[in-house]
């Protein structure tokens, strides 16, 4: 294919070349004929350049928290709705902290056991030609939902205490001094939980869905204001205060961001080894179609040092220790860029 383009009579315009033979097209960009020109990707970025992010918080009025994140041509809307789960509706829920209760076991995660965080990713919005509206969720959508779900829990981003609605029973022992046992201080009890429905809609998809989705989730969670909810003992139900002043934000543990890169190999079919390759960060849809191997690292640099919260790598053998180290370095620079925007 490349030889035909050399003949002046049979030259293609750029986009025809890209459509006819995408792999040599990207390779020609990354491996320029003269060593003077730098290696750039077909989209004009260098292999380690990210796309510029744009974040807009709180644009959905009916959600408790929301964010619109745009990274290049990938645009994600994330809305978070809070619903109340009554503790009396939880089968086998126990308030006591005795040693036999399941909550006393190491590694018990109440937020997870009660499913208080429900992320869902919708790709069938017409965001890209690959996902038609009205179709059942594609494998990619389901896979992304699972990844967001497990990262939400494994990173411990949301503090479980913020989702509990407590009730302090009034101390009635003053009127009735007869019973000595009752006069002991009455423990406050959990009457209900907030369940956060995290809906992530892709408006347009041009590669790298996970990074954008996760950035939207983090930004929307930072934007959440839950109304003050309390247990009304007379009506025996949970009531919420209207006033915004008494509503409270979630206390999030740090601010993790995800950075994905793909590995583009010079030879499509050759066994790995002496093969030349490029690691392309923040890939677009064109590059995703040409690469098998992907790496995602999740980092949090809140405390000044780089803390890792996840690595996910599959599909190839190029990325080893050194490449992961480089990825973490790149992710730290991305954190400095994206972090202030997500705080917004």
């Amino acid at each position: 294919m490349a030889s035909t383009t050399a003949q002046p009579t049979l030259s293609f315009p750029r986009d025809t070349f890209a459509k006819l033979s995408p792999h040599p097209y990207l390779l020609a960009h990354l491996q320029p004929s003269s060593s003077a020109s730098p290696s750039t990707r077909a989209n004009g970025r260098s292999p380690t350049t990210f796309r510029a992010p744009h974040v807009n918080n709180g644009s959905l009025t009916h959600a408790e928290g929301s964010a619109v994140v745009r990274i290049g041509d990938t645009t994600v809307v994330c809305g978070i709705r809070g619903e109340i789960l009554l503790a009396s509706n939880v089968a086998g829920y126990r308030v006591d902290r005795s040693s036999t209760a399941p909550s006393s076991k190491p590694g018990y995660n109440e937020t997870k056991e009660l499913d208080l965080l429900v992320p869902n990713i919708e790709l069938a919005t017409g965001c890209s030609p690959a996902f038609m509206p009205g179709q059942p969720p594609s494998t990619l959508a389901q896979s992304l939902s699972t990844r967001v779900y497990s990262l939400l829990h494994s990173s411990g981003l949301v503090n479980g205490e913020d989702l509990k609605i407590w009730y302090q029973p009034p101390d009635l022992s003053d009127q009735d001094k007869m019973d000595v046992e009752d006069s002991e201080s009455i423990e406050p009890e959990v009457k209900a939980f907030w369940t956060l429905y995290i809906d992530i809609l892709f408006i347009s998809l041009d590669g790298n869905p996970f990074d954008a989705a996760w950035a939207a989730v983090v930004s929307a969670l930072r934007n959440v204001r839950l109304p003050k909810a309390y247990w009304d003992p007379d009506r025996e139900m949970i009531l919420c205060e209207d006033a915004v002043a008494v509503s409270k934000k979630l206390r999030l543990n740090g601010m993790p961001i995800a950075v994905t890169a793909l590995v583009f190999r010079a030879k499509e079919q050759a066994p790995t080894g002496d093969n030349k390759y490029w690691v392309l960060v923040d890939p677009d849809a064109f590059e995703e179609g040409l690469c098998d191997e992907s790496v995602t690292v999740v980092v949090d640099c809140t405390g000044g040092e780089t803390k890792m919260l996840g690595i996910s790598k599959a599909g190839g053998t190029v990325v080893g220790r050194e490449q992961v180290k480089q990825m973490v370095g790149l992710a730290a620079t991305r954190w400095a860029q994206l972090g202030p925007l997500l705080k917004g």
């Binding site: 590694g107 389901q142 896979s143 780089t306 803390k307 996840g310 996910s312 220790r321 992961v324």
Partner: protein, 253 residues
């Protein structure tokens, strides 16, 4: 409830599939079957390579988003080890049925969407490799997989190899690695909070375990290594196959 961390495997026990294997480790048991290369549906057909289809069925209920995620990890991994370019316009279909998972006292209420997707991943990967070997599908390499749980208390940290489910849940971070027989990292999945140094350490231990770094000169040494209690990942695959081959060729003696 005793769970053996030692792996065990049975090969080619399903007669209607092209290849099959049962593999158990850490309380997880998975039956794998492979059919291929077979005819592919027109819309899934790939002109230059075989389509690889992985189906993961959970122990209870129908597959959900978690199974789709595991399938996509497995599919992209297996595409690397099968010589898919040798079978253009065909399908290689791998079905993995989880038959038992370790009992979990603290999370007994949730059967279908059970906790993390990582603990089962090494078992699924290992079953897949044994299944493919049983079907004699041409492979570029094999792989071995291992999981780690890391507990950090202050400055000291404890690395648990092949942790139980309780250890998995209580750990600061959990890691699943798979290495090819050439010693290259093929799959890496980590969750929880850790540092790059911890990951490097896990990488080294995993690599030592998965790829018997002390490459033996002759096969007889290999065999002895493979038969003792603490087998490496690759050595286990090898000794399992050697047992199978010697049992199959028993009539010759």
């Amino acid at each position: 409830m005793t769970i053996s961390a030692e792996p065990s495997a049975t090969l080619s026990h399903l007669y209607r599939a092209d290849g099959s294997a049962t593999f158990s480790q850490n309380g997880y048991t998975v039956i794998g079957a492979v059919n291929g290369p077979i005819e592919v549906q027109r819309r899934d057909e790939l002109p230059e390579e075989a389509a690889v289809d992985v189906i993961v069925r959970p122990a209870a209920g129908v597959g959900g988003t978690r199974e789709r995620h595991l399938e996509s990890i497995l599919q992209s991994t297996i595409r690397q080890i099968i010589l898919i370019h040798n079978f253009p316009r065909t399908l290689i279909q791998i079905t993995l049925q989880i038959t038992s998972t370790p009992e979990n006292d603290s999370a007994s209420s949730k059967l279908v969407q059970a906790s993390s997707n990582l603990p089962i991943l090494p078992t699924l990967l290992q079953t897949t490799v044994l299944t493919l070997l049983s079907a004699s599908i041409p492979l570029a390499m094999t792989l071995a997989s291992i999981s780690f749980a890391i507990n950090s208390t202050g400055s000291s940290r404890k690395i648990i190899r092949n942790p139980t489910l309780e250890e998995f849940q209580a750990a600061n971070s959990v890691h699943v690695l798979a290495f090819t027989s050439n010693g290259q990292l093929l799959v890496a999945e980590s969750e929880g909070s850790f540092t790059l140094e911890v990951w490097d350490e896990v990488y080294e231990i995993g690599k030592d375990f998965c790829c018997d770094v002390t490459e033996p000169a002759g096969d007889d040494i290999m065999q002895q290594d493979g038969l003792d209690g603490n087998t490496g990942g690759m050595a286990f695959v090898r000794s399992t196959l050697e047992h199978k081959v010697s049992a199959d060729l028993h009539w010759k003696d």
